[in-house]
Every structure is written in C-alpha cells, then in structure tokens.
C-alpha cells in the first residue's frame, strides 16, 4: 500500500460507489482530523450509510481512496475484521446485539482483547476485565440487567448496549449511526454528553437526523446530498447555506 502524506485520521478522496448504475456515492471527499467529532447530516439516500459501509470495509468503492491514521492504511484493501482491528468501531442504525447472549457477555465479546482463535480458547476471566465491564454497565445504565439475555431488552436499552459495546471495544474512531433514534429528550441529552465524553480521547463520526441533537453536540457538520458533500461548517453555517436549505429543508 502506498503511504499517503496527510495529517488526517481518516481521509476520503473521490469515493464513488454505484449499484446497477445508481451512484450511491459520487466523488465523495472529506477528511477527519484526530480527536475530531464530526456530525454527518443529509436527506435519506444521500449516501450516509454507504459511506459508513465503505469506511468499515463492508462495501468496496468503485474508485477513490480511503486512508486511515495519517495515510498509513488503505481501508479499501482491507476487510471488516482487519479494519475493526485497526480501531474503527461501528454502531448500526438498527441496533444489533447478540440476542442469545447476556448483556454482560455482549460486552465481554466487545472488550478490547486478543481476538485470535487461540486466545479465546484459553481465555480466562480476569478481575480487570470484570471491572471494565462493570464500569461500562454503569455508564450505559444496564447494571441490573447484566445477566438478562440481550434479546429481551427494549429498543432503547439495546441502543445503549450497543454504545456500551463500542466503548468496550475502545476504538480510535467511532462511527455512530443514528444513536438517539427512539430515545427520550433526556436520554438524547445524556447520549450527547456521553459522546462528548468519548470524544475526549477518541475520534467520532455521528450520523443523525435529529438537528437538536446535532446542535447539542456543537461540532463541525457535513451535509451530504446525492453521494457527495454539499456543505461543511458549523451547524449555523450549514443550516443557512442556500443549497442546503433548497434541497434539505425545502422552500
């Protein structure tokens, strides 16, 4: 892989993805600096989810570059596992947890650890692992649910559990897809706080529709439209951008 000289943690350049002639991403380019938090907004079908798929290796771009960690890794040549091991974690739009496992085991599986077959075979539970799981259970408020099977949690609880799994994974870059869907206002605020907290030592990309939540985060906003960047800036700059108003907010 060719090293790329960039200071960016994540560097996307002219990414194009098409399905049967339909361009989901069209020459999409943007960069995320280390320790940055970025909110991505845009109407449905703007390519937000496809963009996440490209970064996490689920979809290979037809053309364009995706580099991670100051250009040292070409993500378009790696698969999901390798990318996850590099330190990119993802929360899905629809919460996906392991339904048959307990809440605790879900976190245990996510916990940063050796992921090799050998390691999991000879694995033993340690108190430091237990402590970390306890901490996370506290943070995501599922402490008294720890031995329940995840399948029996409510929608909101699953959202939190998935965020908890992201925390346990301890990635450098978090991709968070619609984290507050189905949450109360208070929960939404707490989630914003939590993400800000995480952002202290990690880089975060949040995709969200909820403008109040985006405003609450108070970070740089990228608006996507038809697979490319339409506008970038603060929430105020973006929401007053003429083209954004035209296509996104309506006349």
């Amino acid at each position: 892989m060719e090293p790329k000289t960039t200071s960016a943690l994540l560097y996307l350049d002219a990414i194009t993805v098409s399905f049967d002639g339909f361009k989901a991403l069209n020459e999409l380019s943007f960069v995320i600096e280390p320790r940055e938090m970025r909110a991505i907004i845009g109407p449905n079908g703007a390519g937000k989810t496809t963009m996440m798929d490209v970064i996490t290796g689920k979809t290979r771009p037809d053309s364009g570059d995706v580099f991670f960690e100051q250009g040292s890794y070409d993500l378009s040549k790696l698969d999901e596992t390798e990318i996850a091991e590099l330190g990119i974690g993802r929360k899905f739009q629809k919460p996906t947890v392991f339904d048959m496992h307990s809440v605790e085991d879900n976190l245990l599986l996510a916990l940063k650890n050796d992921r090799s077959v050998r390691a999991t075979l000879i694995w033993e539970n340690t108190s430091s692992q237990q402590n970390r799981i306890h901490e996370i259970l506290d943070t995501i408020r599922l402490k008294n649910m720890r031995s329940r099977v995840a399948g029996s949690l409510s929608h909101g609880q699953k959202q939190w559990l998935e965020i908890g799994m992201l925390l346990a994974q301890g990635p450098k870059l978090l991709l968070v897809d619609e984290p507050v869907a189905g949450m109360t206002d208070a929960e939404t605020l707490q989630t914003a706080e939590l993400l800000k907290d995480i952002n202290r030592d990690r880089t975060v990309i949040v995709v969200e529709h909820d403008m109040a939540f985006v405003r609450e985060l108070g970070v740089k906003v990228t608006c996507l439209h038809e697979g490319s960047v339409l506008a970038e800036g603060t929430i105020d700059q973006v929401s007053t951008n003429d083209r954004v108003v035209e296509v996104y907010l309506g006349r």
């Binding site: 596992t81 996850a84 993802r90 996906t96 392991f98 496992h101 090799s116 077959v117 999991t120 539970n125």
Partner: protein, 381 residues
Amino acid sequence: MSAFPLTRLLDNASTIFLALLAAFAIAIPVLNLLVPAGSGLHVSTYLVALFGKYICYAMLALSIDLIWGYAGILSLGHGAFFALGGYAMGMYLMRQIGARGVYANPILPDFMVFLNWQELPLYWYGFNHFAYAALMIVLVPGLVAFVFGWFAFRSRVTGVYLSIITQAMTYALMLGFFRNNFGFGGNNGLTDFKDILGFNVQAEGTRNALLVVSCLALALSFLICRTIVTSKFGKVLVAIRDAEARTRFLGYRVEAYKLFVFTLSACMAGVAGALYVPQVGIINPGEFAPANSIEAVIWVAVGGRGTLTGAVLGAFVVNYAKTFFTSGWLAPYWLFVLGGLFVAVTLLLPRGIVGTFEWWHERRAEKKITALPASAPHAAE
C-alpha cells in the same frame, strides 16, 4: 472466577451424561462376557456390536451439533468425514489381513489382485502401521474439511448455500470412491477384515473392547465440545451464529473461527468413522451418500440442536427406532417413520427433546420469578 475448569465444564446434565456413559461402558461388557448366555440379563454379541455402532453415530451427531447447534453451520456432507476416517481405518485393517486374503497376496489387498494391479499405490503406504493410520484418521478428514472450509468460509458462503455445496462435496466423493481406479475397492469398498492391533475383530473380547474404546472416545469428544462451548470461543461461535456481520465488525476473524470448529468437527467425525468400521466390518462408498449425512442431521434435530447431550440422545433414539423398524415386518414402513420424524420434529419439536425439556424447565423457573410482584411492565415495540 478462576475455579474455571471443572465447574464450568461439568454442569448437571453433563455429569449425569458422563456417569451414564461410564455405567454403559462397564455394564455392557460385563453382561456380555460374564453373564451366561442363557440368563435373561445376558447381552448378546450382536447387541454389543449394535451399541458400538450407536456410540459411533452419537459421536458423529456430536460433531454435527458442534458446528450446527453452536456455529450455525449446517453441513449436509458430514458423512463424508465419517467415511474418510472409516476408509483410513479400513486401509489399516486391509493391510493387517496380509497373506490371509482370498488371493493370499501379502502386500496387495484382494481387490487389487483381482483388478490385476502390480503394486501398492503410494497412498496405501504406511497404513500397515497403526500409528500412521491413526494419524490419517484424524488428518485426512481434517485436511479435507480445512481445504473445503478455507475456500467456503473465506468467500462467506453461508446458510443454505453452504449446506448445498457440502452436499455436492460428499456426492463428488461418493462418485469418486465408486471408481475402481481410485484404489479403494470401488463399489465393494473394503471388507473381510481379520485383525486389529493383533486381535481378531470378530472375537467377543475385541468387540467389547471396541465398544469401551468407542465410549471413551465419545466421552472425550463430549469433554472437548464442552470445553469449547463454555469458553469464550464458544461465545464467539454463538455470536457468529446469531449475528455474523456484527461479530466481524467487532474485529473477530469469523472465517478463522468457523474454519477451526469445522475442521475439529470433521476430525471428530473421522474418529467416529474409524471406530465404526471395525465394528460393522465394512466400509464402502455408500457411506458418502448425501442421504446418510442428512439422516445424521436429523439425529441432532431430534435430540435438540445446541445441546450436546441432545445430539447423543438423538443418535440413540433414532437409530434404535431404525433397528426396531427395519428388522421385522414393519420394514416397509421405516421410511414413512423416518420421513415422518423429519417433518414432525421440525414442525412440532423445533428444539428437540433435550432442548424442549430445558426450555420448559427455564420457563418454570422464570414463572416463579415473575410471580413475584416487583417486575415493572415495559412496552415492547
């Protein structure tokens, strides 16, 4: 937390199962060898061989349960690994015949003499040594599974597609082993065995010893499976079964996990096949028939997939039923029964016998808890 090995390995059901197996392994030889033939308690040598066969089937069921019940890989070609192990054992037994064959050739098995072969093919070398054969019993199925799995899992062939190509695999092997020029006895397979490790395979003592060895192998396989499913590895397997993509995004190399467990399961099936062959006295390409593999899957389904004891129980129940039906005037109806079993279990008893029992047990326990007033209602949407 560090009281890991035994308590984690042996829950109640496992302990009961191992105790029963041990009792079985002791009781049958005693009742066969020490109780006189006239006594009502006497177990005939025919039954000893029959039970030995069941134990081998149970091991095959266990190996299928490990990948299907826990990792969600439904192999419709596991009989192939069973047969490969069987052939490896058969080759050893053939070489043990030596000059006692019909054509009295000390090197070449009868069928090769018959086909006018001049010398032993290279791949038959070494099978006169038991240790080598034992190695091959594990290695050959393992290697085939590894190569097959490496291709299949790497390209993420899953679900029914995987099932269909495993079926194609065993079918292709069957066609191959039917050919005389493959050097495995063609249509007739390998048979006419005389000795195993110097003991006459027909002798009562040997038969009992084989039964005990089979029980030991089953117990060992059971413990290996328990170790795996109770480890973190086992949790990862279940995670893969329920949400493969998610597991991958967590950074687990899903194909490596599947490959490991698939290969291990194939080795286990191979050992089962190897123990099966001296007890039934023949191995032929019919063992590769896709129908055999599918039948083995139903044992697991009947017993309860995802429960190791269920797999063993299923193998016993279905095969006992088969013996019962096919050895009398009911014989024409056996296929109706077997077919009905497939339909009934999937429709009415999807968790299988043990699974249903466990579920019912848990439900009762749960009810006791929910009977307490505390629990607040939560809307599920």
